[in-house]
Symmetry: C2
């Protein structure tokens, strides 16, 4: 179950500082893993607002259904996350697990079950023994601490090889505000509205509707722009909680000019977390940034970028450091978005390889091959039909992916 | 460049018998391969009609563009096929290569250039030296023979590990008619309208419009229902030629009841060829048949089937013989087609694993694991919303795929 740490992992995992209104604790349920915590309880101060973006998978899990329903009220007092069992495709039993967990947590924290959010990832289709969770929840309550971030970010991991955290200090109308988050995910990554699991917290005081309006476009440009294997999870969950502990002028609308820095900081943090997921992509040896320009719209550009980033042939060529740009042409062609083959420009590592529908005169592959031999690869494509652009991140496809996924359950 | 023969290859490659009106020859251009023929010339009797289905990729190659244009007239006297260079994304030069080849062939065979069809597969983006083809065409003309099938079916191969041929004897209104075909393809296989290259011939006498009407639905249920890696080629080409040498009552409409047996034989032959492509899927160790029922339409069922058949997580689980049916649930969910999660039925090897949105009571994995340890795997999914059904074929995703594609150009 444990794989060597990704070569693309950050040199140093930062330690998240306390954030006013958030306390965390972890424990070991024993439902799947041994010798490591697999359950996290995150307690949120009274008055915390919440927004979320969840998988659009039609096979979405009971925890996802629960979160979708409870987000409407926009209030949160706790998040319970378990790793190792996705509680997905588990029928009525799975729904009971969620409501039992929420009710038990609400009783402990003296709140309503609808203020408890649940997230589960791991194997699909196996009934989750809920008593393994409810039995240890009182223990977790006793341990709750503002310093619990490192343990929580590790407890939510499944095939991840490093914990993924990020923090930003920003301001609203001059008053300091912090945003901190953690996420997990390594395979089954091509989020359709959100990644597997990401939890982001701020001490800002923002109504749930404002949070939601800020979160969606930022999610599109971060978690919705990454892919490891083109497989969309049943459990993708991105939650953003605002504890309201910071002291700043009141904000009532997402259009408020005072949110400009906050918006930018949030998107920056989401991109940081999302790209950490790619850097921990199953078997990843190279981190790939794909910039698409000249498309009919930003959405079209993203689809073209994902078509390149999902192509097994592009990804295996990158694994080999092979400048096989013809496969990029193929992936542009199959994306189903408008592109002018005879105006296509392709660059790798900033070097123009093809222009106007053909390889450039006197093309020298050597510098491109040198670029591709590194850990960080850049591909730029202009499709020559409009002004839409998008950036997408992916990793290469290696033997490691097969090793991990041909043995995931064992 | 050469890989061990697929373990899923047929025990014996049949030898195609002569077909009235078709002669074949092969030669070595030296443009890429050494020590094996890489060019095939297929001569068709005067009066031959033709229909075709070609890639919808927006990056389609000059040979594909040429075929699309020339199919409108519906007449064919020759097909020229080279392997090793796809002549795709080669700009004006690539278009000149096609017209030069067609003109040279037409001169040799005393026909019009528009009656010469061209197909090329191999590496994308590298200029094809046309003189390597035109120089040896006169040699090929001299060698043309009705017995040339085996050599031609081998000359068109790229990463294929065995030649793919099929033949059927059928009848039109009691008169015997033969259909024979060959195809190639092993990677970059998720045809969008057709597979990489498939050439099918019959001695029936059918107008081009009738051929076209018969070909399209049969292509949808054969080549458009297979996937190896979800990557759509720039060069997919399926051509059906009728030499008109058989003696049967005249057929003027695709609705003619006399075509019933012919239609069935054609679809059967196309499925035979298409599944041989899957059996030669790059790195394939298992042949997988996916039946989807209960969908909103046949098209929806096919999309769900392809979503399962393209999922790297499903395919790596199958490679490991792991009955990880949760990944099938995931793939159904991401397909974007209507499905009722709480009515989903999943079977493997005919054994019911899940029903009504959850694992069946007393589920025993042992017989499923036994089924998955074999070479031929069956997955059945009922999505519980309608009457649409489709069958899709794929293979597993193994280390072999990475080996082949991380070294294709070298």
């Amino acid at each position: 179950m444990s794989h060597p740490r990704s070569p693309l992992a950050p040199d140093r995992i930062i330690e998240l500082p306390p954030l006013a209104g958030v306390r965390l604790a972890t424990g070991l349920t024993g439902m799947r893993y041994k010798g490591r915590d697999d359950l996290a309880l995150i307690e949120l101060a009274p008055g915390t607002t919440i927004a979320g973006v969840l998988t659009r998978s039609l096979s979405c899990s009971p925890p996802v259904e629960w979160c979708k329903a409870k987000l409407k009220a926009g209030k949160a007092r706790a998040i319970v996350v378990n790793a190792g069992n996705a509680n997905a495709f588990t029928g009525r039993h799975g729904r009971d697990v969620v409501s039992t967990t929420a009710t038990a947590t609400a009783k402990l924290l003296d709140c309503k079950p609808g203020e408890v959010f649940i997230a589960s990832t791991g194997v699909i289709g196996v009934p989750l023994p809920v008593e393994t969770i409810t039995r240890i929840l009182p223990d977790l309550k006793r341990q709750l601490a503002a310093s619990g971030w490192p343990r929580a970010s590790q407890a939510i991991m499944t095939t991840d090889t490093f914990p993924k955290v990020a923090t930003r200090r920003t301001a609203i109308a001059g008053a300091p505000v912090t945003i901190s988050g953690m996420c997990k995910g390594s395979g089954m990554i091509m989020p359709d509205m959100a990644t597997m699991l990401a939890f982001v917290f701020t001490d800002a005081k923002l109504p749930a509707g404002v949070l939601d309006s800020i979160l969606r476009p930022a999610a599109d440009r971060s978690f919705n722009a990454i892919t490891v294997d083109g497989d969309t999870s049943t459990s993708d969950t991105l939650l953003l909680c605002a504890t309201g502990q910071a002291r700043h002028v009141a904000v009532r609308s997402a259009a408020d000019a005072n949110l400009k820095l906050f918006r930018a900081a949030l998107e920056d943090l989401l991109v940081d977390l999302a790209t950490q997921v790619v850097r921990d992509g199953e078997g990843a040896q190279k981190f790939v940034t794909i910039d698409v320009t000249g498309a009919q719209s930003a959405k079209a550009a993203r689809r073209i970028g994902l078509s390149i980033g999902n192509s097994p042939l592009v990804k295996t060529a990158l694994a080999a450091g092979d400048a096989n740009w013809g496969r990029v042409v193929m992936a542009v062609g199959k994306a189903g978005e408008k592109a002018d083959r005879d105006k296509l420009v392709i660059k790798m590592g900033g070097i123009v390889i093809a222009r106007d529908g053909a390889q450039v005169d006197g093309y020298d592959e050597a510098p491109v091959a040198r670029h591709l031999s590194g850990r960080e690869v850049s591909i730029e494509v202009d499709v020559g039909v409009g002004k839409g652009s998008a950036r997408v991140w992916t990793c290469d496809l290696t033997h490691g992916y097969i090793d991990i996924n041909a043995s995931y359950r064992s």
